[in-house]
């Protein structure tokens, strides 16, 4: 699809990464105004404005991340439409402040948590993860976030809890794909408790040192790097601890194509396409590479599935 921001790229020598999208710009201005740093804003280059302090992590890959442009203009976020450019086009008007996340079910301290309270005190890290879509393309993304386990420990998981269910925002007024009923909204995902507690599983609040762009699931989203991208639910409004496996959107729609586990696995094909390899997004000659089981995170997560038949539990 035509991207009006990039049409003059050859002339200017600039790329999307050099441009601040309007919605980010407005959002940033709002934030800056709130913190009284307005005067500073005009003089600082983009890098210096990166405002999220994040520690490096040993879980990060040393592979080169995709560009900010790649990550923010090629998204599957059906709440904004089927096309991969729809989120970048339509997500600008999404209201992300105020934002509350309902935490309920089998937890000690259920409640409606304001996002700022929820994030406060969490050890924020940069996690550079491989991201593998079930459609057989992939990227490397420098997420900013914290371990889901840290949050679950804070709210207290009751002994009977076995699964964690995630619900994304479904706000028809601001989400054209929701208004048009493209899927059975709201978008729902889920993890087994041990998957949710795994240190690789994070709640991401930003990327590339910036607050999460709206098209990537602002203000807070799940990232589970060893599973296909659709497991990493965006724009979370609810986290529920349950004792039984929660229904998940794609699995409800086409159970023979999208399993609950959805671990990246080249040995288990999607019924309609091979998962043997993937195209690493990066221009006309983007290289196709072999897909690695658990998206290359097998050393850390394979033990979670000991004794399980992953061809059956796909």
């Amino acid at each position: 699809m035509a991207d009006r921001y990039t049409t003059n790229r050859l002339n200017s020598g600039l790329s999307w990464a050099d441009v601040t999208p309007k919605e980010v710009f407005l959002n940033r201005r709002q934030w800056l105004a709130g913190s009284g740093a307005m005067a500073l804003a005009a003089t600082l280059p983009r890098q210096a404005q990166a405002r999220i302090e994040a520690a490096k992590s040993r879980y990060s890959t040393d592979e080169a991340p995709n560009s900010f442009e790649d990550i923010t203009s090629y998204n599957n976020f059906y709440e904004f439409g089927f096309d991969k450019t729809d989120p970048a086009t339509h997500a600008g008007g999404l209201t992300i402040s105020p934002w509350t996340v309902e935490i309920d079910g089998l937890v000690e301290k259920p409640g409606s948590y304001d996002l700022a309270d929820l994030v406060k005190g969490m050890p924020i890290e940069e996690r550079i993860y491989r991201f593998r879509c079930v459609e057989a393309w992939s990227m490397v993304i420098p997420w900013i976030g914290f371990e889901l386990a840290a949050l679950l420990n804070r709210v207290g998981v009751q002994p009977g809890a076995k699964y964690v269910a995630f619900t994304s925002l479904a706000r028809a007024e601001e989400m054209p794909g929701v208004a048009r009923g493209l899927l059975d909204w709201p978008y729902r995902e889920g993890l087994r408790l041990d998957e949710a507690m795994h240190p690789l599983t994070i709640l991401a609040t930003g990327l590339y040192g910036e607050e999460m762009p709206r098209q990537n699931g602002a203000p807070i989203r799940l990232v589970v790097p060893w599973k296909y991208g659709f497991k990493s639910a965006k724009s979370l409004v609810r986290i529920t601890l349950t004792d039984s496996q929660p229904p998940t959107t794609w699995n409800m729609m086409q159970p023979n194509e999208y399993g609950f586990y959805a671990n990246v696995n080249p040995e288990v094909s999607h019924p309609r396409w091979s998962q043997a390899s993937e195209r690493r997004i990066g221009g006309l000659f983007a290289k196709r590479v072999d897909t690695i089981k658990f998206n290359g995170y097998g050393d850390q997560v394979a033990s979670l599935y000991a004794g399980q038949d992953l061809a059956k539990d796909y």
Partner: protein
Amino acid sequence: MSVQDQVHRLLRPVRPWMVYALGTIPAALLMLRIFTGDLGVDPVKAIEHSLGLTALQLIVAGLCVTPLRRFAGLNLNRFRRQIGVLAFVYASLHLMVWVTLDLQFRWAEIGADLVKRPYIVIGMIAFLMLLPLALTSNNAAVRKLGAQRWQLLHLLTYPAALLAALHFVWLVKAWPLEPLLYMAAVVALLGLRVWVRQRRATATT
């Protein structure tokens, strides 16, 4: 003079090669978008889809020729061959991009896809059906085969069109509208032919 006659008169100076020249426009626009970086961050998929879509559009256009004559009195028969050949050319380019830029000559995976993936199998069968049609799209072939046998062969257009549309419907996730519209167009255009045939059959009995 009727509207149809006016259109016929306007089209009289149009030569076959001009139709081919027109047919290069989608490819030229695509090239332009490749070189201006207008195809987004995954240009390979964009190129692949665009070529396939143009092929499907040309197939649908080809299927419109007969109904237009029958129901609207508009005779575009002499452009039908060019439309068909162009559809084949775009389908070939679509296939070529899949093998080269997308699958990058990973023959084992290409082979596996060609037996295991229904939508790819269907697309390939559609392409293989178009192949003899393209090869016989010249006067020499019509003479050699004889009009009747040639026409019989070219009935392959119908299943090829259905499979091409199904290929599109099947490859997408969920149910976006666009592929369904193409499928509806193909079904409607083929349905019209069935309807005409049945009416003729009842008229003669």
